[in-house]
């Protein structure tokens, strides 16, 4: 399958890069993710309900898709969302574990539990953008460009898929995360 990369976004606790160019940096004492949310006028209050894995995936996808341009939020099934990491939903898992750890304070939180799956971030991106195509989350023992490339090539084997929003989305705490996201298009020429 002949594919081409169209736009990349890199997001770390220190900076945001679009197509290899640094566009925002963090300032001590602020929430970088909330700052980017406001900077890019995302206007999506559900953002504040998300766990950190969803937040970083959401922010990166918003920046990436804003860069792509064109009409957004129209239902489509030709774009897949395929994301990867190693630690799954570890941060939400630990948060939920805290709500059940003490028998005297046993109040399992439903709004935390719903985020204890890594594919909720693919779902959040699909919901925001009305993407009804394939969505999937794959865990790898380590970050491997080769393994991710092969998985993206497999996603294009669905005959309806003509582009894939893909990348590494890892967030183990509010201050430790790494996102490298890109749009991969089917090259028909």
């Amino acid at each position: 399958m002949n594919t081409m990369v169209k736009h990349t976004v890199k997001l770390t606790p220190n900076y945001l890069e679009v197509n290899g160019k640094r566009v925002a940096e963090t300032v001590a004492g602020e929430s970088f993710l909330t700052k980017l949310y406001r900077l890019y006028n995302m206007e999506y209050p559900k953002f504040f309900k998300m766990d950190v894995l969803c937040k970083v995936g959401f922010v990166a996808s918003e920046v990436l898709l804003g860069t792509e341009g064109g009409e957004r939020f129209v239902p489509r099934s030709d774009r897949a969302v395929l994301l990867f990491n190693r630690h799954s939903s570890l941060h939400a898992d630990s948060t939920f574990q805290h709500t059940i750890a003490n028998p005297d304070e046993f109040y399992p939180s439903p709004s935390v539990f719903v985020y204890t799956l890594p594919n909720i971030v693919t779902g959040e991106i699909a919901i925001r953008n009305k993407y009804q195509g394939e969505s999937s989350f794959i865990l790898l023992p380590e970050k491997s460009e080769e393994a991710m490339d092969q998985a993206v090539a497999r996603a294009f084997m669905d005959r309806e898929t003509t582009s894939v929003l893909t990348g590494w989305v890892e967030a183990v705490s509010e201050t430790e995360y790494e996102v490298e996201m890109e749009l991969r298009m089917k090259n028909d020429e």
């Binding site: 570890l90 399992p108 719903v114 693919t122 009804q132 497999r154």
Partner: protein, 382 residues
Amino acid sequence: MIIRKIAENIVSPLGFTTEENFASVMAGRTALRRYYSLWDLPFSCFVSLIPDERLDAEFEAQVPCFTTAVYTKFEKCVLLSATKALKQCELDAASDRVVFILSSTKGNVSLLSDENPDIERVTPAHTAQLVARHFHNPNIPITVSNACISGLCAQIEAYRCLMSGQYNAAVVIGADVLSPFIVAGFQSLKALSDEQCRPFSANRKGLNLGEAAATVVYSVDDDAADGWRMLAGAVRNDANHISGPSRTGEGSYQTLTAVIRDSGLSTNDLACLNVHGTSTLYNDEMESIAINRAGLNPVPVNAMKGYYGHTLGAAGILETLLTMRALEDGIVPATRGFDELGVSNPVLVSSESLDTQKRAFVKLLSGFGGCNAAAVFKGYGL
């Protein structure tokens, strides 16, 4: 070129082989039991658990361990199921033409309750690596974690790995074990029934959770080979809500139409639709809508949750294997727990098993994150 099943196993409370599980299902047994204070949880629940004694006995007898490492229940289930499946075939699991694919939702999450949890071991990607290394396989294992559809996604991933020519065989293992984490979580969503689940029934109150591990080995074969083939698979998102199924059944509807189209089969070829049937109000209703929208309502529908409960990452593989085994005997198994139809769109669910001459079926699943998956399987020469 075709993709054919060459080996399999199911480890569950109803048996430690596919045959034993099939016999239990045909005898109408269920593994679901009521527990009043399981793990000291402050509510009663109806779940199915793999007995530790038998798991440990079989594990020690069958899995050659070269280290003294203490495995978790989840790891033991995965290793035992894969070992038992691989013993059935001549496959060299150490070959670089073989890939390991794991399906799990929560893996070793129970480790988080340890005082100093081994964080690196919690992720299912760690378990996948453990299994691949155990069989001396050199490739990076793939772990699919798409909530309740993972077991079907893992098989679809295997199908593509083989169709693309990247690998010759795929060992696909699905597993989840229960813990206070998972049970309390589903309880907090008010998704659990405190009695036997009743798929598609008017009086259904929610789902039951269950433990299982299941393994299927697929191989590339020539067009003349007999046996079970995977013909098509598709994954679609509702793009609607992270935990609630779509009211229009959009994603499931789209997967059904895609796999029927890609498989080249028609409604007439299908013995049954083996659906999710979790017994929650919204899931079963959504499936009835999707089935009717896809024009598949003339095909018998069955669900396995009344025997096992919802086995999460194992469900897609366990339910696929049991349906294959039953169809080999010309049987569509009864939907245990079903009584009076309670969904808005007509579906042919039965509390009795049916006889059939057909040897093809659709497996359908949906899950949190708005995801849906379907696949078509057909038996040749059976």
